[in-house]
Amino acid sequence: MNIQFSPDDQLFREDVRQWLADNRPREQRPSVADLAACREHDTAWQKTLFDAGWAGIAWPEACGGRGLSLTRQLIWYEEYAAADVPPGGWKSVCFVGLAHAGPTLIACGEDNHKAEHLPKILDGSAVWCQGFSEPGAGSDLASLRTRGEIDGDHLVINGQKLWTSYADVADFQELLVRTDPDAQKHRGITWVVCDMKTPGITIRPIRNMAGESEFCEVFYDDVRIPLSQVIGGLNNGWRTAMSTLSFERGTAFIADQVELEHDVVKMEQLAREVHIGGRAAIAHDEIAERLAGLKAEVIALKAMTYMSISRNSNQDLPGPEGSIVRLFFAKLSQRISHFGMELLGADGLVYQGKHEELVRTYLFRYADTIAAGTEQIQRSIIGERVLGLPKSR
């Protein structure tokens, strides 16, 4: 047990800090209302990161990465969160590719898949989205019905996906389809790379409760995908999907976990600025107590992140413990933003101007206990796969 970063790690940290200070973009990221502009911004920034050697820090060298430790990746996120830079984590359109599509290809793809897709993920030239959920298949993902029929050396896709984040600005999709309708429900599924420019795809953006359209409905009408784009084998897609989800629930949100610390700092500032009953909010016992609790939790989140990195450094696939941190993060992020909303009082009713960002974050946080598996599903995973409790009958 140690929390020492090696001298080389320290040097790496210095390098990252210096580079970010010198190279961070001076302009703001465009508003999410204009996703195309966001794509342009995020991918240009990703290209800059790639050129400077900051993309794929912990990816194997054979896959175009730097082949460094997860600890180095963590250091990058820590410095990134501390610098005044465009949002990382799942707020970037490059998220799916970097955080779980890429890692899935590394774990389950053939060399030709890796060679075709990984470089473009790393340098920002390809944006990915995730086509797992459907109208009838949310938590019960294995009940998905979008069909994939074999026709010669192609899969022909018909059906619909739902809640596909960034679909309308994406180039590729991790797509789950049913290729054997007669097999038992987990057995007849295939994980395939769908080129979003293929004819037959229709995309309709959906507005979320924060008023933005980051996710979409996607319709497939005789969409032809070469069988060579199947990852992990035909009808073996559930296993490939489980590895995608283990990255999504295990390591994908490290950047967001690290960034949450800064949200609490903002809340503390707010609690000192805002006055309630003629005194600074923080001078009220109940508010001080809650803030202290949130600060403790966000420090613990960092410790949990370190713990999970320690675990994941010894294993190829993140284990089910990832759901523990994911659940803790999701509940905490909501408590923090809710606390801010309470501090704002009537000012929180105005969704523009000074507090717009805080209100947006508050509204957006409602997704944290739904996306990447609802909090109920995370609890069931912890109960069954971490604690070994029996499945419900």
């Binding site: 202290a292 370190y306 713990m307 659940l327």
Partner: protein
């Protein structure tokens, strides 16, 4: 950076864990609740043989020369089996003495000749001493400070009925001056992080008991753990364990490495471990139903010991003030 135990540390934990679960398992309270003298001389010697009291003392004093990491690993195991606070206070004081030029005192604790009980200052200027029946010294916790007194300093002692019946309780007044001078903040924090680890052990013990019962007990034709309401209560316990233990390690190692924000991290460890212990102990009773509410079963003791340890921690660190300091 790696928060997992090394192979050597895992080995220590497994030896200690096996010893405690065979010699002083938490189950023992279901048979007798041993008030007064915490442990027989023979049992105490077994702790000595395992090197418990000298774990972090220098080797020339008979210790093992290990550090805070090993201290908290041991403390966590102690929490899991509700080991007497006297065991913890004795190990802590041995280390304290060794770093304050009190080799003789350290040695007498390491070799089991002497024991140290812990005591908490009350508002009335006296102390509540836990499991101090035959202690030779008293470690007092008071206003973010600790002091060490010889048992001879006890002017008056009155046995009380304790809320936690698994430790004896004595109200004492003290006279005279403490034995050690200049006990600093980092020493206080070292005791605090040890107690946090004990609380984490309690939280883990509660979770393990609940999970095990939920897998066995059947109602409506299935194990109650198959019901999501019960399963999800258990999952929340596991989340609290992970938060508490990760934070204990992070804070303990920060103290070991003398990081300037170690106190703040320990304040967070207090918050997370006290919360985990109480919430998990409470949930464990709920998962057990009626049997959890009985005195024969040990679930209630996890709640009660948590209150003792949390009160001690409150007297060692002003958690809120530390966390809100800019």
């Amino acid at each position: 950076m790696n928060l997992l135990p090394t192979t050597e540390q895992a080995e220590i934990v497994s030896v200690i864990g096996e010893f405690l679960s065979s010699e002083v398992p938490i189950r023992r309270y279901q048979e007798t609740i041993n008030l007064g003298t915490p442990y027989s001389a023979a049992l105490w010697q077994q702790f000595v043989k395992l090197g418990w009291f000298g774990v972090s003392c220098p080797e020339h004093l008979g210790g093992s020369g290990l550090g805070i990491a090993e201290e908290i690993l041991l403390a966590r195991e102690a929490g899991r089996q509700l080991i007497s606070p006297t065991v913890l206070a004795t190990a802590f004081t041995a280390n304290l003495a060794s770093r304050h030029d009190q080799a003789g005192l350290a040695n007498s604790l390491i070799n089991g000749e002497k024991r140290v009980a812990i005591a908490l200052a009350t508002k009335e200027d006296n102390y509540l001493m836990f499991d101090g029946g035959d202690a030779d010294y008293l470690l007092t916790c008071h206003d973010n400070k600790i002091n060490l007194f010889p048992a001879a300093a006890i002017a008056k002692a009155e046995t009380l009925k304790g809320t936690d019946e698994s430790v004896s309780l004595t109200r004492t007044t003290l006279t005279g001056t403490p034995l050690l001078k200049n006990i600093g903040e980092s020493d206080v924090m070292r005791l605090a992080i040890g107690l946090c680890a004990v609380l984490t052990g309690i939280a883990e013990s509660a979770c393990a008991a609940a999970v095990s019962y939920a897998g066995e007990r059947e109602q409506f034709g299935q194990p109650i753990g198959a019901f999501q309401t019960i399963k999800h209560l258990c999952a929340d316990m596991a989340v609290r364990n992970e938060a508490a233990w990760s934070q204990c390690v992070y804070a303990g190692l920060s103290l070991q490495d003398e990081h300037e924000d170690a106190t703040r991290k320990i304040a967070a460890a207090v918050e997370m471990s006290a919360r985990a212990a109480l919430e998990n102990a409470r949930t464990n009773i709920q998962v057990h139903g009626g049997v959890g509410f009985t005195v024969e079963y040990d679930a209630h003791l996890l709640v009660k010991r948590t209150h003792v340890l949390s009160s001690l921690l409150d007297s060692l660190i002003d958690r809120r003030k530390v966390l809100l300091k800019q």
